[in-house]
Structures are given as structure tokens and as C-alpha cells.
């Protein structure tokens, strides 16, 4: 080993030990490190244009058994779950003669409550179904969302007659259907987790119920975009940074490049 090579090898160590030190806590965050905050109109406009299959990877990323699936399986199963959700939306709308989720809830004997529960930004709870017949629509997030509807570009993307509470209610109604109808595709599909000889451990895949619930409420509310858009939209009411991060994540899962705020100026 010659002197030059030795110097080359030693340099990073010497630099690390005796060079200019920059302790972690004193490191000034560069512009690149800071989260990019987009206008809410840009977020919903882009997300509302995503096709149904583009949501499969995002939906599965919240599934505990996500690691057991390939991308192809995720898209295929999500499509089946959505079809199941749409089929049941049509069936119930026909049976009860209404597509209004509030009316449907009343006719299905559900007790719907609208508590104003303050949320924090790390996990924003929109709505909840408690077996056997209680639904909670948490109004803190809904109220914040209603304020955002007046932001530029939001109503154009979401539609003039869009109602947040009814959309959330429709999603939870599907879980009631899931509880009652044991033969539902989302209840019967099972994944073989492992087996030892003839002993198999098969498991239901919970995200399929969520995807079906999204398609169910989408169909009832007559909207063209996926209700998963609400994840970013309603979080925006709490923190624009987190909502922008969710937007980036969703666009990334869809294989698209998220737009930047300056893109609006260029347009």
C-alpha cells in the first residue's frame, strides 16, 4: 500500500475525528429537509384524478399482512373488493329506495352519533362503527374539512354537492353489512398464512373490507373519486405538512410524481 492510498483511506477517519464537527442537534435543516407544503386545492385536484387501481398499494400499506402480497395481487384483490362494495351499495339502495346514507342508516336501524372529539395530527379519527349498531362521525375533522371546501380548487375537484359526513357514514354502514352478511366476499376471502402438514392458518384480510367500504360509499354518494382522498384532505385541516406528506405517499404508491407549489405558478 503506497502513501497516497494510505492517506486516502485515513482521510475520512481523520476528518471524522478531527474535522469540522456538526453535532446532530445543531445541524441546521436545509431547505431540502423541510416538508413541502402544497395548497389543499392542488392536493385534492391531483388525488381525485387517480384511477381506482392506483389506490391499491396505498390501501394495502395500512394492512398488517401487507408483506404477504405482490403488487399484482394487491391490485387484483382491491378490484374484487371494490366490486363487492359497489354491488352491495346497489343492492341496498334498491332495497331501501334511497341512496342517501343518512336515510339508509335510519332504515337499517343504526344509531348515529356526531360527537365533537378533538383530534391530534398523528392519527386523525374520522368515523367509527361499534358493533352491533352504533356509528360515530367525529365532527372536529368534518368541521375543519368544511372550512377547506372554500379553498381555491377544492369544490371543483370534489363536486358541488359533496357532503363529508354522509361520505363517512356510508363507509361505516358497509361495516354493518359486513357484520350481518357472513357470505360477503370480503368475509370469505382468506389468505393462507402458514401451514404445518394438514394444519393451515388462514386469515381474513382486513383491508379488503376497508377498500369495499370505500367503493360502497363512493357508489352511494355518486362521486367519481376515491374516498381515500379524504385521508389527505381531512388531515389538511390539522396539519398541512402531514397532509402534503400523505399526498406524496399516495402519489408515490400510484407511480406518479407529486407536484410542487411552484408548478402552479408555472401553469
Amino acid at each position: 500500500m503506497n502513501k497516497e492510498r494510505l492517506k486516502e483511506l485515513a482521510q475520512p477517519i481523520l476528518k471524522g475525528l478531527f474535522g469540522k464537527q456538526m453535532p446532530y442537534h445543531l445541524r441546521v435543516k436545509s431547505e431540502e429537509d423541510k416538508p413541502v407544503v402544497r395548497p389543499v386545492g392542488m392536493i385534492v385536484e391531483d388525488l381525485c384524478q387517480l384511477p381506482e387501481e392506483a389506490w391499491a398499494k396505498y390501501a394495502f400499506s395500512r394492512e398488517p399482512l401487507n408483506g404477504k402480497f405482490t403488487d399484482g395481487q394487491r391490485v387484483e384483490l382491491a378490484a374484487k373488493a371494490s366490486a363487492c362494495g359497489r354491488e352491495w351499495a346497489e343492492r341496498l339502495a334498491k332495497e331501501h329506495g334511497t341512496r342517501d346514507t343518512s336515510d339508509l342508516a335510519a332504515r337499517m336501524g343504526m344509531k348515529v352519533d356526531y360527537p365533537l372529539m378533538p383530534q391530534n395530527a398523528s392519527r386523525v379519527l374520522f368515523a367509527e362503527f361499534k358493533e352491533p349498531d352504533k356509528i360515530y362521525i367525529y365532527m372536529d375533522g368534518v368541521k375543519k374539512g368544511k372550512v377547506l371546501l372554500d379553498e381555491p380548487g377544492v369544490r371543483e375537484a370534489l363536486g358541488a354537492n359533496f357532503n363529508i359526513s354522509r361520505l363517512l357514514l356510508g363507509h361505516e354502514l358497509f361495516h354493518r353489512v359486513e357484520m350481518q352478511e357472513k357470505d360477503l366476499w370480503t368475509n370469505t376471502y382468506q389468505l393462507d398464512l402458514w401451514h404445518i402438514g394438514p394444519v393451515h392458518n388462514r386469515s381474513k384480510v382486513f383491508v379488503l373490507g376497508e377498500i369495499a367500504a370505500m367503493a360502497f360509499t363512493q357508489s352511494l354518494c355518486g362521486i367519481s373519486w376515491s374516498p381515500y382522498v379524504m385521508d389527505a384532505f381531512l388531515v389538511y385541516g390539522y396539519t398541512a405538512e402531514a397532509a402534503s406528506a400523505l399526498y406524496e405517499e399516495m402519489m408515490g404508491f400510484a407511480g406518479l410524481t407529486p407536484r410542487l407549489p411552484q408548478d402552479l405558478l408555472e401553469e
Binding site: Y24, R123, V124, E128, D231
Partner: protein, 398 residues
């Protein structure tokens, strides 16, 4: 100024916090190790693999998750790791249809169960009774074999059985947005999943240094998970970052630990007065003390007089000056309300408070589940204490 008074004040304000330095270094290294397990993805991989084993049967998955959570927290320390694991475990439990209050109860009580064998906590509570040099036979290995292992098992079983009972009531489904991406982290190699318990195993089996265990297992994790592939400077910065984050995780605890010894020393000075007043009425038999503590377990809540990380330091100060009891017995008598009641069941515990905000569970709702658990597990642990720690020989007395 009176020399005796100055000496007493110096003992309270200077010597007492200084004496806790040896405990404090363990806390800092434990916090660093916790951060390493999070950074390398070992902790999250363990949780994901556990769920893939259990599947959709809530009670099987809850049981497995409780065991793994308890195992992880035999080594991890501080609110940061609890939150980091919580943001993985809690959404998983809720997606299985486990109601949010039950999910939180199951997770928090499992964390507390693991703490019974955590060497950092053991050192921390041991320091209430004596200095590091005193009674060296009372080490984690002896304690674990005699009481600690059984305490973890009892706590996990009680938590799991109660979760199963609570789960019979109803399931729930919620639509919530997770703003922290937890599933994007790569899986750690399978053979690294054993590393979380390495420091504890080394300490219990070979009486090996706790910090040594953290350093060995921590760097093994960083290298084996490919986190040290950067330049020398980048690697240094990563270790620096993990240490910084770990110490920040435990900062409130450090402040508490450096203030509490002042309180303990004051209790020592005041004990002759307490002895005169309370001595005649204080129970002297181990059985009566165990029964009394079991009945008064609820006073470990809200930093009351039974928990060492609350007003219990004063109770201990009085008790040990009034009654002659063996150190291991006293340790266990106080560890139960401190760990099961305060750390696992009380809403004043930092990470329980975080969990309430994260899951949107009402304090009352949580306490309805945690207090029965605190009493059932607590009583069983006092029975264990009577069986294994009562009637010890003279070598266990100070």
C-alpha cells in the same frame, strides 16, 4: 452557618443526585439501544412477523403481540420506543377489530410486564434501597430467577386473559388517517430479531455488564442491518443522532431521577420522627405488609404513596426505618405498585397519556380496564412475593 446544617443540605442537594449517576448512565445507554432497535427496523419487523403468524384471530394475535411487546421492553427504555412501537401495534390491533380502549390497555400493560425484567429499571429501583456496591448478590440474574421471570409471565397472562374477556363485548371498525408511515420501513434480517433480548440474556446468564450488552447488541444490530454502510463520518453522525434522540426520549426521566434522590435523602433525615409517630402502628410481619400493600394497590395510581416513581419514596423511607425487612422482599413489594399500577395502568405515565391522545380513548374508559388488571395482577404478584421472597436469611438484610 451551622456546619451540621450545611452538611445535611449538601447531602440532600449535592451528594444525593451525584450518587444516582451510576443509575443514570444505564438509562442513557438503554435509551440509545431502544433507538437502535427502531432505526434498524428490528422492533417493527418483530411486530409485523408476529402478526403474520397470528393472522385475523384477535385473541391469538393479541397473545403473540403481548409476548413480543413484553420481550422487547425487557431491553428498550423510554417514552420514545413505546411510542414508536405503539404506532405500529395499536393500528394493527384496531384493524383486527379490537376496540381502541382494549387495544391500548393490552399494549400498555404488556410494556409494563416487560419492565419487570428490564435491567435499566431494575438498577433504577434498586438504587432506592442501597448503593450499587452494597449487596452485590442482589443482581438481575438472582432477582430474575427468583421472581422476575414469574412476574413477567403472570403479568402477560393476566393482561391477555382480561383482554380476551373484554373482547367478548364488541368489535369496532374505524376510519382514521395514519400520518406517520410505519409500513415503509424495510424488514430487518430474521437472524437479527433475537438481538433485543441479548443484553438481558447476557446480564442474567453471565452477570455481564448491562451497558456492555447494549453496546454489543446495538452495534451488531447496526452492522447486520446494513446501517453502517455509509462513510466513517456518516456512521459517526448516525450513532450521534441515535444517542441524541435516545437521551431526549428519557430527558424527563433523567430530570426526575436527579431530583428524586433529594427527596429520598430528606425522607431519611425525617425518618426518626416518622418512626416515633408511625412506628407503633406500622405492621412488622411480611404477610401483613403484603396484604396491606395488596389492598392499597390503588394508591399507586396518580403518583400516590405506593409508587417509587411518585410519593412512594417517602413511604419506603418510613417503612425501612420502622420495620426490618429483607431488601429483595421490599424491592418486590414496591415494584408491583410502581410497575403494574403506575407504569402500566395510570394515566399519569407519559406514554399512557400519549396513547390516550393517539387512540382517542377517554381516561375513564382506560382506567375501567386497567384498574381491574392492576388489582388482579398485583394480588397474584404479592402471592408470588410471599412464596419466593419472604423469610430470606440475614445476608439479605442491610
Amino acid at each position: 452557618m451551622n456546619n451540621g446544617l450545611v452538611a445535611s443540605l449538601n447531602a440532600i442537594y449535592q451528594s444525593a443526585p451525584e450518587g444516582w449517576g451510576t443509575t443514570l448512565v444505564n438509562v442513557c445507554w438503554g435509551a440509545w439501544f431502544g433507538r437502535v432497535l427502531m432505526e434498524t427496523g428490528i422492533a417493527s419487523t418483530l411486530i409485523r412477523k408476529t402478526v403474520e403468524l397470528g393472522g385475523d384471530k384477535p385473541i391469538i394475535t393479541v397473545t403473540l403481540l403481548n409476548i413480543v411487546t413484553a420481550a422487547i421492553f425487557t431491553a428498550m427504555t423510554g417514552a420514545g420506543p413505546v411510542i414508536a412501537i405503539g404506532v405500529i401495534v395499536l393500528p394493527i390491533l384496531m384493524s383486527l377489530g379490537v376496540p381502541k380502549a382494549i387495544a391500548m390497555f393490552s399494549f400498555m400493560e404488556s410494556v409494563a410486564a416487560g419492565i419487570y425484567l428490564n435491567p435499566v429499571n431494575f438498577g433504577q429501583y434498586r438504587a432506592f434501597f442501597m448503593t450499587t456496591d452494597e449487596m452485590t448478590d442482589f443482581n438481575l440474574g438472582w432477582y430474575a430467577r427468583k421472581w422476575g421471570f414469574a412476574a413477567v409471565v403472570i403479568s402477560v397472562i393476566v393482561t391477555t386473559v382480561l383482554t380476551a374477556i373484554f373482547l367478548k363485548k364488541a368489535k369496532s371498525h374505524s376510519w382514521a388517517a395514519q400520518t406517520r408511515g410505519t409500513s415503509v420501513q424495510q424488514d430487518a434480517p430474521l437472524y437479527t430479531l433475537i438481538l433485543p433480548i441479548v443484553p438481558v440474556v447476557l446480564n442474567i446468564a453471565f452477570d455481564f455488564s448491562v451497558i456492555g450488552g447494549f453496546v454489543i447488541a446495538g452495534f451488531a444490530a447496526l452492522f447486520l442491518c446494513g446501517k453502517m454502510k455509509g462513510s466513517f463520518t456518516e456512521n459517526c453522525q448516525l450513532v450521534n443522532k441515535l444517542y441524541y434522540d435516545g437521551v431526549v426520549d428519557t430527558a424527563p426521566l433523567v430530570g426526575f431521577l436527579l431530583t428524586l434522590p433529594m427527596f429520598n435523602t430528606v425522607a431519611n433525615y425525617a425518618s426518626p420522627y416518622f418512626t416515633k409517630v408511625l412506628g407503633p402502628v406500622m405492621p412488622k410481619s411480611e404477610l401483613v405488609i403484603v396484604i396491606l400493600f395488596a389492598v392499597l394497590l390503588g394508591l399507586g395510581l396518580f403518583r400516590g404513596p405506593m409508587t417509587l416513581v411518585g410519593c412512594g419514596a417517602a413511604t419506603l423511607g418510613v417503612l425501612r426505618n420502622v420495620v426490618s425487612l429483607s431488601v429483595p422482599f421490599m424491592y418486590c413489594v414496591f415494584a408491583i405498585p410502581t410497575i403494574t399500577v403506575n407504569i402500566g395502568s395510570c394515566i399519569t405515565q407519559s406514554w399512557v397519556a400519549w396513547g390516550l391522545a393517539y387512540t382517542k380513548v377517554e381516561s375513564k374508559e382506560y382506567l375501567k380496564l386497567s384498574i381491574p388488571c392492576a388489582y388482579i395482577a398485583g394480588v397474584l404478584l404479592y402471592v408470588l412475593t410471599m412464596i419466593t421472597m419472604s423469610g430470606l436469611g440475614a445476608e439479605w438484610f442491610l
